[in-house]
């Protein structure tokens, strides 16, 4: 249990260093950790809650579709060579293309609306969900598949008894990576192209040079990510625990 505190061995010195640096600079545009925390009350208010909701709704819509399609695509590509031959190159291309380049194109094509935002999130997240799923299926040893077949397993049984449980850790990794990319996608779009939700809030503070408030909002976004990623990780650990029975 005490091992959970280990990361603080790095975190606390970093925060201290940052605080000392900011105090030393004494520049109102460079906040230290204490300034950021002090700015939280300014930032927390009705406007922020609405912004969180707007942003999250748009993001989750894109992410949910990316999750379902990404998992399906990844698993199918992992098992069936024909599917991989057909769609593989596109997935690999999507992994290396900076999606930021596609953002303006998508918004121009679909209009400056919430749906376009969700599509951008979808494009950001999909490859990072599908690729680990594909890898996860492939990592299931061929001998385990042979073994199940030798005992009469049909394709559906193979999936249920061997391939899905075997690739579950990889699927959860993909979901975590995909979530990170989804957050990146929505914030990037809201900051640059369509100022709604949290993006608008951040841009608002930036334009008034209120860096402490900007950082405070960023901190809250990070907290949300930590909660979600932590939740996924906890789910994965619980799955491992359950299998022990």
């Amino acid at each position: 249990m005490w091992q959970l505190l280990l990361p603080f061995a790095v975190g606390i010195p970093l925060l201290l260093g940052w605080e000392l640096y900011a105090r030393g600079l004494n520049n109102p545009f460079v906040p230290g950790p204490t300034d950021v925390v002090a700015a939280l009350p300014n930032v927390l208010g009705g406007e922020l809650v609405g912004a969180f909701v707007t942003t999250n709704v748009a993001m989750l819509r894109g992410y949910a579709v990316a999750a379902v399609l990404g998992i399906l695509l990844g698993l199918v590509m992992g098992r069936y060579r024909l599917a991989d031959a057909i769609t593989g190159p596109y997935l690999d291309l999507a992994m290396v293309t900076p999606m930021i380049v596609l953002m303006p194109i998508v918004l121009m094509a679909l209009g400056l609306n919430a749906m376009a935002l969700s599509v951008v999130v979808f494009l950001f997240a999909l490859p990072y969900i599908a690729v680990p799923c594909r890898a996860g299926v492939r990592a299931v040893p061929a001998e385990s598949v042979d073994m199940a077949r030798s005992f009469g397993a049909g394709e559906l049984q193979l999936w249920r008894e061997v391939l899905l449980p075997g690739s579950l850790p990889a699927v959860l990794t993909g979901l975590r990576l995909g979530f990170g990319m989804a957050v990146t996608g929505i914030i990037a779009t809201e900051l640059t192209l369509l100022a709604v939700g949290l993006g608008r809030v951040i841009v608002g503070y930036q334009s008034r040079f209120q860096t402490d408030n900007t950082f405070a909002v960023t901190l809250l976004i990070m907290l949300e990510c930590i909660v979600v990623m932590g939740g996924l990780r906890l789910f994965e650990l619980r799955q491992q625990y359950r299998r022990l029975s």
């Binding site: 001998e143 077949r149 005992f151």
Partner: protein, 286 residues
């Protein structure tokens, strides 16, 4: 109760495409199994032995129904093999246990796939645990087990579905010598109480002799049967047999059959150098 007539392998061939090397055909293929015919009796323990690449694992997979022959056919108890079936169960070289499932549930896996209800399959798995000497480890996970113990689980898993024929692909090949001999002794003990047929693929001459009623020697490139040797020993057996003169004589004979191919990589010429022995008719050991 189906009529059991044994396993009948008829002129099976399996061709693989490979990067060409000296021994391969001009078209870049090689015959992993080339016109192999074999009869295995209902209660016979038959070992298949030969150098690496002689097709013995491919042959076993064709009997198991995991691989389709390119020509020829395999019949089990009169029915042509078109895939895996309940009358055959396989034991693999690397146990292939499901790592997220405990020993009891791994053993019960074959039963689960066949739709046996939870209570029954766990009861039967529990009996199999006792049979292979894993009492106390029912709830252990595979990663907590040694190699020998994992192989015991694999063996129990195959036995618990009560197949007519056990197909074993070098099941003790990944174990150290001491554990290997323990497992051989276990298998001999278990076998004396069973009425099954078995096809046992191995690299080890001594292992084949001590365990089997008959030994099939195969050549490699192309994979053909070179000898079919009946073991002159009675059952039940123990490792004490290895000290007898009879055993040494048989061992010398088997090595002679194998020796015609050692150190050579060229194909057909090597095989012809050994005189094939006509296969002995299978015997249903009473």
């Amino acid at each position: 109760m189906t009529d059991r007539s044994g396993i009948s392998v008829r002129e099976v061939c399996k061709i693989f495409r490979r990067r060409s090397s000296g021994a391969d055909q001009a078209d870049g293929t090689f015959r992993a199994v080339d016109g192999v015919s074999l009869e295995i009796g209902v209660r016979e323990f038959v070992s298949v032995i030969g150098p690496s690449g002689c097709g013995k694992t491919t042959l076993l997979r064709m009997i198991a129904g995991l691989t389709k022959p390119d020509s020829g056919s395999v019949h089990v108890d009169g029915q042509e093999v078109r895939g895996p079936g309940p009358e055959r169960a396989m034991v693999f070289q690397h146990a292939s246990l499901l790592p997220w499932v405990n020993v009891l549930n791994n053993i019960a896996f074959g039963l689960k796939l066949r739709g046996v209800d939870r209570k029954s399959r766990l009861e039967r798995a529990q009996q199999a645990v006792a049979l292979v000497g894993l009492d106390g480890f029912e709830h252990a996970l595979p990663r907590e087990l040694s190699g020998g113990m994992q192989q015991r689980v694999g063996l129990a898993r195959a036995l618990v579905v009560d197949p007519m024929y056990l197909l074993m692909d070098e099941p003790f090949g990944s174990l150290d010598e001491i554990t290997r001999r323990e497992m051989q002794a276990e298998l001999l003990k278990i076998w004396s109480k069973q009425e099954k047929g078995a096809v046992f693929v191995t690299h080890s001459v001594d292992e084949a002799i001590i365990l089997s009623d008959r030994i099939i020697v195969m050549s490699s490139r192309p994979g053909r049967v070179v000898a079919d040797m009946r073991m002159p020993f009675t059952s039940p057996r123990s490792h004490a047999l290895e000290q007898t003169r009879e055993f040494a004589a048989v061992r010398a004979d088997v090595w002679k059959m194998l020796g015609g191919q050692s150190g050579e990589s060229a194909g057909a010429g090597t095989v012809d150098a050994v005189e094939p022995i006509p296969p002995s008719p299978p015997v249903d050991a009473a």
